[in-house]
Symmetry: C2
Subunit: 142 residues, 2 copies
DNA sequence: GTTACTGCAAAGCTTTTGCATCCCT
DNA sequence: AGGGATGCAAAAGCTTTGCAGTAAC
């Protein structure tokens, strides 16, 4: 996401210290953090930073296409600095979300293609990670 | 979803008039309504019905596996009385959601299968419906 | 010097909850 | 009769917004 901070300055984005801290936290982050995750983390460096700054910065980055807003969690929005097309695997136990970069081709029926101009897709895989599976088995066997 | 209202009575679910109205509204509904959609519609029949009743009923139905809670809209939760495995096609223009019942097989890499026990998946297709596409073209051509 | 950003507080929405009353079974 | 459901209002979360002050450019 951040090749260089210059990339942002070039496009009329002001690089405030708060923003740089948010960008640094997001860069390469594979945890699909929520606004609160970002707030809690960055606040350790900038204790005065407000929630509004986090939301406004996320909105700005989203508009610019620098991050994706994910709709994989019914409780809150999550953000992904990886803007390449990819999919997600969600553990129904601990709710962790893992990226799936496997290329997947999906063919829809002609009747759909005629009435819709398709632009993309996103797959949510559901399952149980080995940790949660181990816990589950231990419970079952007493 | 509703083969017969008896099915609900059998399982210890009390069939109040409000609930029957909600069930009737949901039965066969392909519009993926939100709690507010349900409230607005059913309130025309039961003006005294509260939002709490809608939410509590939806929670009960969800627990029983009679409806699915969809996470396809970042603004609000939507509900689907069709509990069969299926996918969704979302118009990025008017936000309408269409069911996709095409059977789709997806193969994930072995390394994923080894660390996750997969239980299901859900695909969101994005595109533009013919109505929105027409509008867009008219704007572009003046 | 401009313009955009920050921080705060208030407000807006969606969803949940407590509780007294009501009514389905 | 008993247990669950209703309705109301209050509260809880998440997210947005207005505005005055501030800082990046």
């Amino acid at each position: 996401m951040i090749n260089s901070l210059e990339k942002f300055r070039e496009k009329g984005i002001k690089l405030t210290p708060q923003r740089v801290a948010i960008l640094r936290y997001l860069d390469g982050n594979k945890g699909h953090p929520s606004a609160e995750d970002i707030y809690n983390k960055v606040r350790k460096i900038f204790p005065m930073m407000s929630f509004a700054t986090v939301y406004k910065t996320l909105e700005r980055l989203k508009q610019r296409g620098d991050i994706l807003e994910l709709t994989i969690d019914p409780e809150r929005r999550r953000y992904d600095p990886d803007t390449r097309a990819h999919h997600h695997l969600i553990c129904i136990g601990c709710k962790q979300v893992v990226d799936i970069h496997t290329e997947i081709t999906i063919t829809l029926p002609d009747e759909v293609k005629e009435s819709f101009e398709l632009t993309g897709n996103h797959i949510e895989f559901y399952g149980m990670c080995s940790d949660c599976n181990t816990v589950r088995k231990n419970i079952l066997t007493g």
